[in-house]
Subunit: 218 residues, 2 copies
């Protein structure tokens, strides 16, 4: 085994240990947590903006917004009404890891929130390897990216519980087959719960909100 | 310095050494080489398909098509008329590295080609750190990804020589400001050469082809 692979295995196993601690803390506080992952520009921040604006009064939502170099996403989420928003700048690193989340949680009173959204770095590869202690990963794809993405980047879809197919308002202008996309995704992970939506046009959002609310009563 | 950072520095310096060897070999054979990078689904493969179909008879083009798990892109490029196509499957790794390119070149007679296109893994973060021995990186963004991408993922735009703004046919349906995108890109890298195009509609491709041909006569 090369030195590089050995170090990577060690890093991942340390990460998993911290993630397990985070998961336990969140569960002790009855907090439901979702880790949002996707390519850059698939609409993670837009979805979270809409979700906060709609559900922020009903559910106490905490947000951890990860970004490579800027705090732009965190600022957008605050402007959308997010009251508890913690930016995490990875300093060039291509993913969030459990240590960053653990540090962000130090500045967050867990009694104040019932739901935690983590917005990961825009990257369909690397964040799949890092457990952040979340209850589930939500992977977004936009219809402009093509219906083959689950086959080409299978790890992320295998490790996610939910897939959101976003920007459905652009379907008439793209070569994207919804049935093919669903089939490709389910081939990789038969348990995926799939939502179709257009954050921009507002289509499909009600079903998403209802589902999020149902998580709170489990 | 942590063990992980030390190992990463060593990996990168080994990579740079191999990349320098590749660059020398390509130059000795008068081969112009471009490394195409972008998020998943920005249109790298589509652009290469069109480019092969249009220029393949005039220029001897070699293609190295990188992918995380499949050979789908390589197969598309062959179907589009690519005669010399070498797939590289990274086995889950989030980027191509110089060693992979060096290995792919073993199966390629350099006297047969005048231009080498390398299609990197779809990832706007990690491939920026890996020199593959190419003459220049070409970064694609599609208008659906938003005009803020150069600011949010600056390393890739800083290390690229060319930026292609793709899917301009979708401009009427997106909140994308072309001037803002150009300004953001030039803020990060004032030397970027910028093309606007729609691979799907065919807009802007002629300028791209002319520019590629001009590289051959330098």
């Amino acid at each position: 085994m090369s030195a590089k692979i050995k170090i990577e295995k060690k890093v991942l196993s340390e990460n998993d240990k911290i993630a397990a601690e985070i998961r336990e803390r969140l569960h002790q506080n009855d907090i439901v947590s979702l880790n949002f992952v996707s390519s850059p520009g698939s609409g993670k921040t837009s979805l979270l903006e809409k979700t906060i604006a709609r559900l922020g009064k009903e559910i106490d939502i905490g947000l951890i917004a990860g970004d490579v170099q800027t705090e732009n996403d965190a600022n957008r989420l605050k402007a959308a009404g997010g009251e508890i928003v913690r930016p995490v700048v990875t300093g060039g690193l291509c993913h969030l890891d459990a240590r960053m989340i653990s540090k962000a949680l130090e500045n967050l009173d867990l009694e104040d929130i019932k739901m935690l959204f983590i917005e990961n770095v825009g990257n369909l590869v690397c964040p799949s390897s890092y457990d952040l202690g979340e209850d589930m990963k939500v992977v977004l794809v936009s219809v402009t990216e093509g219906d083959d993405k689950p086959l080409k980047y299978p790890a992320m879809f295998r490790r996610s519980s939910v897939m959101i197919i976003n920007k459905t308002d652009l379907l008439p202008h793209c070569d994207f087959n919804m049935e093919t996309a669903r089939m490709n995704a389910l081939k990789v992970n038969g348990k995926l719960k799939i939502f179709e939506m257009s954050c921009r046009a507002g289509d499909g959002l009600d079903e998403w909100y209802l589902w999020l609310k149902s998580l709170m009563t489990r």
